[in-house]
């Protein structure tokens, strides 16, 4: 137990150091922008990993939650002058409530059926955002005011970097805490065997609903912030492809690995930017890299490399 505890703090310390030192390596606004986007995606994917990786459920509709929060913040702040932070918290509460109401009927489904239901949810939200043009600006989207806390105004990517970095660290900490607790074990038990979890007293419905709500709230907070950061929102951000991309990040980084979620988000956010140099071949190479990673590291990047390290170190100790 003690070693688990210390390895937990070692990971969190390392993450803090990386977040603190990364700006030294970032040369321009464009690179800071990518770092901020990585942070946003990583926070959503950490939440989604709790649902998919640990509890073994699936959602193809989480971009809908992000979109709802983004529009809620955009409209209340830009049109009605709400303080952005109040707007963000209100959006999180509303999205959490919506997720709570939807979760019970939807999470009775399993596997492909659950994927279909959450897909439908995302599409409904996306259609509403497109159609309610009077409120949302329709397919043209709408401009969003800058994020302010009191008299302090966040505009540049450099400034956003520190807020997003701090939130990412917080998200990792919360996720690690949750997993290393009776609740976290209950979530993993739901993944392992629902009926076995129930006969030792785990209310599986409660935990499925709970993790669905938590992951929706993570997406909601990012949605509100991202709307201000990009200063513009369109229904595309709430679309199906965004949801799928996050699921890919979970799988690529490694299911049931919090740091895997961060790595998956970082790679899938940065890779297209790096590959733009290849011009016409960009998508082909991108696809090839994805296929190779999944074939060579089938459990995802972090768990597969972790297992490799353990094998190597146990071989080194094997001589004793």
């Amino acid at each position: 137990m003690r070693s688990v505890l210390s390895s937990r703090w070692a990971g969190l310390l390392l993450l803090a150091v990386v977040i603190a030192l990364l700006p030294l390596a970032l040369k321009n606004n464009f690179q800071f922008d990518i770092a901020v986007r990585i942070g946003f995606n990583a926070i959503v994917v950490i939440g989604l990993n709790l649902l998919i990786g640990y509890a073994g459920q699936i959602s193809l509709g989480h971009a809908g939650f992000l979109g709802l929060a983004a529009y809620f913040s955009a409209i209340t702040v830009t049109r009605y002058g709400w303080p952005p932070l109040v707007s963000l918290l209100a959006a999180a509460a509303l999205v959490g409530l919506l997720a709570f109401i939807i979760a019970r009927p939807v999470l009775r489904l399993k596997g492909h059926y659950l994927a279909m239901a959450t897909l439908g949810l995302g599409i409904i939200i996306s259609i509403v955002l497109n159609q309610e043009a009077g409120l949302t600006g329709g397919p043209d989207g709408m401009a969003v005011d800058a994020f302010t806390i009191g008299s302090f105004k966040l505009v540049k990517a450099r400034e956003w970097y520190w807020l997003v970095g701090a939130l990412l660290w917080l998200a990792v900490w919360l996720s690690l805490n949750l997993i290393d607790s009776p609740v976290g074990r209950a979530l993993r038990a739901v993944h392992g065997s629902e009926v076995a979890a129930e006969v030792v007293g785990v209310d599986t419905t409660r935990y499925k609903v709970m993790v669905f709500v938590i992951s929706a709230v993570f997406a909601s907070v990012v949605g509100s912030l991202q709307a201000h950061y990009v200063a513009f929102i369109s229904p595309q951000q709430a679309g199906f492809f965004q949801s799928v991309e996050w699921v890919i990040m979970v799988v690529l980084g490694g299911m049931a690995s919090t740091y895997g979620a961060v790595i998956g988000a970082a790679i899938l956010t940065a890779l297209p930017q790096v590959l733009t140099a290849l011009e016409d071949y960009e998508h082909m190479i991108f696809g090839l890299i994805m296929m190779l990673v999944m074939i060579l590291l089938p459990k995802g990047i972090v768990p597969s490399l972790g297992a490799l390290l353990r094998r190597v170190s146990s071989k080194a100790e094997g001589g004793k």
Partner: protein, 253 residues
Amino acid sequence: MTLLNVENLSKEFGGVHAISDLTFTINPGTIHSIIGPNGAGKTTLFNLITGVYTPSTGRVLFKDQPVTGLRPNELAARGMSRTFQNLQIFMNMTALENVLVGRHLHLNTGILPSLFRWPSIGRGDRAAAALAKDLMAFVGLEKYIGWDADAMPYGALKRLEIARALAAEPKLLLLDEPAAGLNATESREIDEVIKKVAAQGVTVVLVEHDMKMVMEISDHILVLDYGRKLTEGTPAEVRQNPDVIAAYLGQVG
């Protein structure tokens, strides 16, 4: 006082009567076996008692309280736990974590305390881990404490299920074929574990095909055939019963 009353219990699956009008009681502090040929409805009966299935008709009383239709987790909270004929191990966790899930009802499962890791979570988990290790030793799994569940052999997983069920501190423990697929030595070891569990005051209900084991450790035996009660009684009574012999060996003459 009885611990479990099953009254006129029936379960139909699309016209097939898996259990028909079954009535029996289980007294506390006994080892109670349920036997019968394949397809007699033993596992269905377990699923009905533990809330995995809802009965078509009839009712179940646990500690004199009606519990028909309650979910398995609600029954677990009242002191009922079980194992499975086809293993239901959390293969995505370590052996110790499997047993720790069994402590679920006795630990702080608040969402905010877990997210922010209040000190009580760490304290509770450390105490639970110590107890889980003791339970693994109790069922003879001390060498597997640090193992991943998916790396353990079949016989060890059978015992891991018992340790997990015991971690919930049940009053009534239902074991569905704990010796199935085990060799004679392993079977005898499971035998010892069950006796030790019963000696601690846990009432055990057993579904088992290993007749030697059943006859040796049971206080009371219920014989099912085609979802109905064929007979019940002490091992000696059941062994002498011509109906039982007929059901197992086929009609004579």
